[in-house]
């Protein structure tokens, strides 16, 4: 009996390890390609490591500040993702408090009505949303990417669920001591919901950083766009198969921030993923 368990255990291990190797290959392939010359990429077949390691691709990428200012794009993306995440955290904590702790007529009906409407695939909205952004004068500005995404219900649902699991004794005793809703929200509730806010914040940051279709539509100004829209431009600048190393190098620079975030906040990403958490495609 014991022997049987250990054999199937080793098979399971072998299987999973094999798959994990396959899973890492695309990124290793990307990194390796970004350090190879075009001649080498074309002439030799697939190798995990370059024959000659070169930095030329990265030099070309970073020196091109006119048609493809990649550092500019990265800093635009950082600004957008940080601002967006901050506002998401403010709005979901405030709204989550409202829907779980405050009493007003029709509260739950309103909540579930909004939740129901939010289930439609958002891509249907893309053209009218562009018109709104145009009317607001936000085309080619960071606001176009910071504000519309705040209309998501998924994270509010999570915060509300989380708050429903926390007994109300703490806020009631604060209320007896004379605290109003704003003080209870800020001093009692915010510290309590920190775990769920961290998770929502991380996924909002990654979602904003990786958002692609929307920025491609709202940005035409090369200096204003975030990195994802910039990478699409590069497909033309560095050609389909003409400058493969440069293309890969740019792609690698674009994933460094999210991978760093993953390294430092790994446990929040892989442990607390919960049903209904709102990850954007």
């Amino acid at each position: 009996m014991l022997k049987k368990i250990s054999i199937s255990k080793y098979i399971a291990y072998l299987y999973l390890i094999m798959l994990c190797v396959i899973w890492v290959i695309p990124v290793l392939f990307g990194i390796s390609t970004s350090f190879r010359s075009q001649a080498e990429v074309v002439s030799t077949g697939f190798r995990l490591f370059p024959v000659n390691w070169i930095l030329d691709n990265y030099v070309t990428i970073l020196e091109n500040t006119s048609t493809a200012p990649i550092l500019r794009w990265l800093s635009n993306s950082v600004f957008i993702a940080v601002m967006h995440t901050f506002l998401v955290l403010v709005i979901i904590s405030v709204t989550g408090y409202g829907y779980s702790r405050m009493k007003f007529k029709g509260r739950d009906t309103l909540f579930f009505t909004l939740l129901g409407i939010s289930f439609f695939p958002g891509v249907v909205n893309i053209i009218p949303s562009y018109k709104i952004i145009d009317v607001l004068g936000w085309v080619n500005t960071a606001w176009a990417m910071i504000i519309p995404g705040l209309a998501g219900m998924g994270n509010i649902f999570l915060v509300r669920q989380f708050l429903r699991g926390i007994p109300t004794e703490l806020d009631e005793s604060a209320r007896v001591d004379g605290a109003g809703d704003f003080r209870i929200y800020f001093w009692v509730i915010l510290p309590l919901i920190k775990p769920i806010l961290i998770v929502c914040g991380l996924f909002s940051f990654v979602g904003s950083w990786n958002d692609f279709l929307w920025p491609v539509i709202v940005y035409t100004d090369v200096d204003k766009m975030p990195i994802t829209a910039g990478l699409l431009l590069l497909q033309d600048i560095y050609g389909n198969y003409r400058m493969i190393g440069q293309l890969m190098g740019s792609a690698m620079l674009a994933i460094i921030p999210t991978l760093l975030l993953f390294v430092f906040a790994q446990k929040y990403f892989i442990q607390s993923i919960n049903l209904n958490s709102g990850i954007k495609g």
């Binding site: 509260r107 695939p121 009218p128 692609f212 497909q235």
Partner: protein, 297 residues
């Protein structure tokens, strides 16, 4: 005075709830309504919209390219469901096994692709599935003596690349959903079953599967949405929205082509509304079939 007004028990709730409702109305409800309205109009940027009734829908029903897009999206959705539900479930069960070491390592390895944007993942996969002899996949095929393939030129080969990309990015996410579901199953159930002499397969079929049902239904629901709304994966693999003979065209790709590329906004809106109706019908049917509505209340 203003302070007292804001702090009163009657007004305070609205201070907490109204800001989001406003954002939601402007950036979600209004665009949705506007899409619905536009689908009955002929709209071109810079011109007055003209009411055309059901013309757009009429035209869509006889539009062969749209039909092709719907079929592509449907096939993509079915294939992703067939792969991205059973395999992540199996991996979750393996990783969750109590004899398992290095769980975090396995979880991380499967999950991290979800953090790469489609642009990055798409660029990598386009080159991996490139048609040159030296591309990654063709090199590997070469080791087995298989001639280089032109992946992105054919319908079946193109879909293999698309599905590979989706599998790479989403296996880890779905696996984590299943792991979260598995955490809620008490160990005692398995112990009791073992004592009664149930085989591992019986334990999986009689305990794990039924108790994972809510998780499975959730993953199924979001996968149906995601599958039918796929577009940028195809756009990245074919470096634009024009694949040969539309082999990679999807419903949203057609919306993009009509709305953004051809400035045919009313027609594009109709495409969007049809997509919305298709996804809602499939998901509501699926949810009714799996008994989700009964359980909720």
């Amino acid at each position: 005075m203003v302070k007292r007004f804001l702090y009163s028990q009657k007004v305070a709730p609205y201070v907490f709830v109204v800001p989001f409702v406003l954002v939601f109305l402007v950036f979600w409800v209004y665009p949705l309504g506007s899409s619905a309205l536009m689908s009955f109009q002929k709209v071109t940027l810079g011109q007055e919209a003209a009411w055309v009734g059901l013309d757009n829908y009429d035209k869509l029903m006889g539009d062969g390219i749209f039909l092709k897009a719907v079929i592509n999206s449907a096939i993509y959705m079915i294939l992703t469901l067939a792969i991205l539900i059973p395999f992540p479930m199996l991996f979750a069960v393996l990783i969750n096994h109590k004899f398992m070491w290095a769980r975090e390592f396995f979880k991380s390895s499967f999950f991290f692709p979800a953090l790469t944007s489609v642009v990055v993942a798409g660029t990598i996969f386009r080159l991996m599935f490139g048609e040159m002899e030296g591309s990654l996949i063709n090199s590997v095929l070469g080791w087995f003596g298989i001639e280089p393939l032109k992946f992105l030129k054919g319908q079946v080969m193109g879909f293999i690349a698309l599905i590979a990309l989706a599998t790479w990015r989403w296996t880890g996410v779905n696996m984590l959903y299943f792991l979260a579901g598995l955490k809620n199953i008490p160990d005692e159930y398995y112990e009791a079953a073992s004592i009664d002499g149930a085989s591992p397969f019986q334990r999986f079929a009689r305990i794990t599967m039924p108790l994972l049902k809510p998780t499975t239904i959730y993953v199924l629901t979001i996968s149906i949405y995601a599958g039918l709304a796929m577009f940028i994966e195809s756009m990245m693999l074919w470096n634009g929205n024009n694949s040969p003979k539309n082999i990679g065209l999807t419903i949203v790709g057609y919306l993009y082509r009509q709305g953004i590329e051809k400035n045919n906004l009313g027609y594009a809106a109709a495409v969007g509304i049809v997509l919305l109706v298709i996804t809602m019908v499939i998901n509501l049917t699926q949810l009714a079939f799996t008994g989700m509505f009964k359980k909720e209340d």
